[in-house]
């Protein structure tokens, strides 16, 4: 499956992308994920101030056919959420990397080492699907 995987981002095996800027991580879902889900119609993400734990579910993305959990790539506090997406989650289908979900202030920066590079994520997509 042809998919867009920008080299400047880091990824998870749950198909989230992350942009690391200092101690803040911006989180979204990958082009591969939006394509697999199909028409995205509902998004539920936590409010600013919520505490996230790395690897735990932090929200839900629903397409017409399916419900998928979102997994936090890092532990930390939610410092921003993209409220523009609430009324128009289909924008994730149109531009997965332009449609961030939340920004997290990282508690333990060593967790960032667990994230996949673009190359590793490409490899993961190729072998797991």
């Amino acid at each position: 499956m042809a998919t867009n995987i920008p080299a400047n981002l880091k990824y998870t095996k749950e198909h989230e992308w992350t942009l690391i800027e200092g101690d803040t991580v911006t989180v979204g879902i990958t082009d591969f994920a939006q394509s697999a889900l199909g028409d995205i119609v509902f998004l539920e993400v936590p409010d600013v101030g919520s505490e996230l734990k790395s690897g735990s579910t932090f929200g839900v993305v629903e397409s017409i056919k399916s419900v998928s959990d979102l997994y936090s790539p890092v532990s930390g506090e939610v410092v921003a959420k993209n409220s523009d997406l609430e009324g128009s989650p289909e924008r994730i289908n149109e531009d997965a990397y332009g449609s961030w979900l939340i920004k997290v202030k990282v508690k333990d920066s060593s967790e960032l080492n667990n994230l996949l590079t673009a190359e590793q994520y490409q490899e993961f997509c190729n072998t797991s699907h």
Partner: protein, 357 residues
């Protein structure tokens, strides 16, 4: 387990459809977008490969009488050229399958059944065949089936066939496409006007290619599920199953108690319904199969049988099975979505009004 492939599989691959296992078959779930495919059927015309479904033929003097005995709806009094939807029940009234009986001509009846129930249905019908002077043949492997659905269906299909008059909904004719015999029924599973075309694999592959060249939108099973839910049609395995009776799925209208005999009659005329099927719409949240339905006290009173996001309403919709004893007088319903109750409105009419004749 090896998945079966329809004879149109290569066509789906060419169109880069997303293909998933369904009822033992590799089936196209989506071509481009569920939304686009739903809108094509509601506003224009779309086509589904539903060749996985089963076709049985009853032929001989008692073909109509045998069909009438097997199913709960009235076959004997329906005119020839008519399609009749019906449950197929056991003696205890539980539903083996829901199907369509096509009264083709005197002594010739076709029954179209769900893909996942072909063997179960055929074995059941064989077990009840004795005493009826007609043959019962499972022709499923010899037929492919397209469902052409949407307001432009007649305009697209009529010029391609030897003959197709603008007949009523739920009618059926035997005609020809490029010198191959086809059975054409004005039926479908979308609520829109449309046709189901049964024919040989060669005829149906050619017809599919012709429809693609005419820019008919190919539609997958995901769009089909949204379309049938928007008009409130049941799907076996969801609203119906081996434990439920037609009454549990709001199909009481298909049980014709005035018929002198049919399988399940004694049980169905005496048995009170346990559940009722209701239509619920949500302002917020998307109901999914298996979610609990709650009353105003947030006590569980039933379960979502099917749920999705309606493309037309842009709201969550559900067919929910409510225990009759617990049905709330105040008609206030909630659906439990991830441990949060979301209010749901009861609607009496279909969520979306299809445009069929």
């Amino acid at each position: 387990m090896t998945l079966l492939k329809t004879h149109l599989h290569e066509e789906h691959v060419k169109l880069a459809a997303k293909i998933v296992p369904f009822a033992g078959w590799d089936m196209p779930v989506q071509y481009t977008s569920v939304k686009e495919e739903v809108l094509a059927v509601r506003n224009d015309v779309g086509v589904f490969d539903v060749s996985h479904m089963g076709e049985f033929f009853l032929e001989g003097k008692d073909a109509e009488a045998f069909a009438d005995y097997l199913v709960t709806n009235d076959i004997l009094n329906a005119p020839y050229g008519k399609a009749i939807y019906s449950p197929l029940c056991r003696d205890n009234g539980t539903v083996i399958d829901d199907l369509i009986v096509y009264k083709l001509s005197p002594g010739r009846v076709m029954i179209c059944v769900n893909a996942s129930n072909i063997e179960k249905d055929f074995a059941w019908m064989q077990s009840r065949h004795q005493g009826f002077n007609c043959t019962l043949v499972n022709e499923s492997a010899n037929y492919s089936l397209l469902a052409l659905q949407g307001p432009r269906s007649y305009a697209v299909l009529a010029p391609l066939l030897k003959e197709l008059t603008d007949t009523e909904y739920y009618s059926v004719v035997e005609t020809a496409f490029e010198n191959e015999q086809v059975i054409v029924a004005r039926t479908g599973y979308t609520g829109e006007d449309g046709f189901e075309i049964f024919g040989s694999h060669v005829a149906i592959i050619t017809l599919w290619q012709k429809l693609m060249s005419l820019k008919v939108t190919p539609c997958g099973l995901a769009a089909r599920d949204v379309l049938r839910l928007e008009v409130g049609y049941p799907l076996y395995g969801h609203e119906l199953n081996d434990e439920l009776t037609p009454y549990d799925a709001a199909l009481g209208w298909t049980v014709k108690a005035q018929k002198t005999k049919f399988v399940g009659k004694e049980a169905l005329v005496s048995k009170p319904a346990k559940n009722k099927l209701v239509k619920l719409v949500l302002e917020k949240g998307i109901p999914r199969e298996g979610y609990s339905v709650l009353n105003s006290q947030h006590e569980k009173i039933g379960v979502v049988a099917s749920g999705t996001m309606s493309v037309i309403l842009n709201k969550g919709i559900a067919l929910a099975r409510i225990e009759i004893d617990k049905a709330p007088q105040d008609e206030v319903f909630f659906i439990d979505i991830r441990q949060k109750p979301y209010e749901a409105q009861l609607v009496k009419k279909p969520f979306v009004t299809g445009g069929h004749k």
